[in-house]
């Protein structure tokens, strides 16, 4: 059953087309990896699905669980079950990790979610979600907070960037946890070993999906650094 469906999405900024007739669908409980070189529109797509300020499709439809959500604001989409972990999570002064994890639901056990992302709860629960955390620690805490929300769709924008290679297994565990919860994941990544745990993958090139299907094949396509659809003429970034 389709949970998220993007129909012919275009998005322009000051006349420049960032996304161009992009279509993509993600089923319930599906982990869908999104590949593409820098500047091809992956994060823009994530912001459009989340409904960030200034990110509304110039044309096309974003359907979530059968509902058109183009005009909904972020918190309205969050209430439907969409959430997102940004590539570089912001810091919050004066908010303890414990409080951050229970922002929406005071009844969850924050320690459990910290352990799920490979952090020892006793060392982190009382720390602040501020500049005192390293980039990798902050990312893990963000992932824990997203897990704690039990979303229907989690958008993970490069969850592996800034996290040491040895900890890739932690990211894999997080994605598996979403899957076990029957949540769908839109996963933006550059790492092949992360792509391979997805159920499906798509490559974006120049603002549109140029290849979609088996993650292994899409990863091969990505590694070849040559867009067969555009044949190097349109894909300025490939």
């Amino acid at each position: 059953m389709t949970l998220l469906e993007l129909k012919d999405i275009s998005y322009k900024v000051t006349g420049k087309e960032i996304l161009s007739g992009l279509s993509l669908s993600i089923g319930t409980g599906e982990v869908h990896a999104l590949l593409g070189t820098n500047g091809t529109g992956k994060s823009t797509l994530a912001y459009l699905v989340m409904g960030c300020e200034g990110y509304r499709p110039s044309s096309g439809e974003i359907m979530f669980a059968g509902e058109l959500i183009n005009s909904l604001k972020i918190h309205e989409r969050a209430k439907l079950g969409i959430t997102m972990a940004w590539q570089e999570p912001v810091r919050f002064e004066g908010i303890a990790v414990r409080d951050y994890l229970v922002l929406k639901d005071k009844n969850i056990d924050p320690a459990h979610y910290l352990e799920m992302v490979g952090l020892h709860s006793e060392l982190y629960l009382h720390r602040m979600v501020d500049k005192s955390l390293s980039g990798g620690e902050r990312k893990r805490i963000e992932l824990a907070s997203i897990l704690a929300l039990s979303p229907k769709l989690a958008i993970l924008d490069e969850p592996d960037s800034g996290i040491d290679m040895l900890s890739t297994q932690d990211i894999v565990n997080v994605i598996s946890a979403f899957k076990n919860n029957s949540a769908s994941v839109l996963l933006i990544t550059h790492r092949e070993e992360i792509v391979l745990i997805a159920d499906k993958a798509s490559q974006i090139c120049n603002g549109r999906v140029v290849c979609s299907g088996d993650p292994e094949k899409v990863a091969e396509y990505y590694k070849a650094r040559k867009c067969l659809v555009c044949d190097g003429e349109v894909c300025a970034y490939v």
């Binding site: 989340m50 960030c52 918190h75 969050a78 969409i82 919050f92 922002l103 929406k104 929300l149």
Partner: protein
């Protein structure tokens, strides 16, 4: 109800722990308006307090090498809706002593009240003083708070102060703190204020790093809404080799509020270093989006962010 009971009732309603008055191991001083209501000292802490025509005069001495175990509580307030309370404080921490003072300033019905504090503080060699001041004001905004302190911190001394006014209306606030730090001395001044309606906030804090390797931090957090106005001046002077200072001011502005930050850094010794950062503006967009993606409404998100910076 006696004045003491009334003040302690207001103190309890503001979140204070009334049991501190009963505890023989905790020093306290309670004054309402011009009247001294209760006082208790502990070993090594000398307190000489007098009623004056306009308020209270207090002289506090922490004797050499004495470390006061529990924080000493100073509870000042005016329970009436009008009046003036002038507190004069002389505090001296002798060599290698330490103490933590917690001041509770309570004005629950303030309609036309002036609370003036003039403090002179001497932190002796190797001594450490912490001073936390929390205000509980009512909802009328008819209060003027004018705290002024001149502090000297001797060699290897440490001085930390934390001013919080985040409950009720601010009214008119005019802080003027000045600290001179000697060799290897450390000083940190923190202020957190939440202004509403037509509150007028003026904060001036100055740290002079006079001694070699002295350290200073001025940290100010202000949130403003409605028509409130704030002007924050953080001054740090680096006048000795190895001195390090930083001024960190953040002001969040909502509605028609107006904020101004004036960081002044002045270095007269080439081996000293002073830095500053000031951020004024509406609530950070990315922080808002992140919290909204967690399911919070925009109003809830602003509340969480503002409470965080004022914590």
């Amino acid at each position: 109800m006696s004045d003491l009971d009334a003040l302690m009732k207001a103190f309890g309603e503001a979140g204070g722990d009334k049991a501190i008055l009963e505890n023989n191991e905790i020093a306290h001083l309670v004054a309402s308006g011009h009247k001294l209501l209760s006082m208790k000292s502990v070993g090594g802490l000398e307190v000489d307090a007098k009623e004056t025509l306009t308020g209270i005069s207090v002289r506090v001495t922490v004797k050499e090498v004495v470390r006061i175990k529990n924080p000493a509580h100073l509870c000042f307030g005016v329970l009436h809706n009008k009046g003036t309370q002038r507190i004069k404080m002389d505090v001296k921490l002798e060599k290698d002593s330490s103490a933590h003072f917690i001041a509770h300033c309570i004005f629950p019905k303030a309609e036309k009240i002036r609370h003036i504090m003039d403090a002179v503080v001497e932190v002796g060699e190797g001594a450490e003083m912490r001073y936390s001041e929390t205000h509980f004001h009512g909802l009328y905004g008819g209060i003027e708070v004018v705290p002024k302190s001149v502090v000297t911190v001797a060699r290897n001394g440490r001085y930390f102060t934390d001013f919080t006014l985040t409950t009720g209306r601010v009214g008119k606030l005019d802080i003027d703190y000045s600290v001179e730090a000697g060799e290897n001395a450390v000083t940190e001044l923190t202020a957190r204020v939440f202004g509403h309606a037509n509150d007028a906030i003026k904060i001036k804090e100055k740290v002079v790093l006079a001694g070699e390797n002295s350290r200073g931090l001025i940290k100010t957090r202000v949130a403003l809404e409605d028509e409130a106005e704030a002007e924050v001046t953080g001054i740090t002077e680096g006048n000795a080799a190895g001195a390090r200072g930083h001024v960190d001011c953040m002001e969040i502005v909502k509605d028609n509020a107006v904020a101004k930050a004036i960081p002044i850094v002045n270095v007269t010794n080439p081996l000293a270093k002073v830095t500053h950062e000031a951020a004024i503006g509406s609530v950070d967009k990315r922080q808002m989006e992140t919290l909204m993606a967690h399911g919070l409404t925009p109003e809830e998100a602003v509340d969480v962010i503002v409470k965080g910076i004022l914590k």
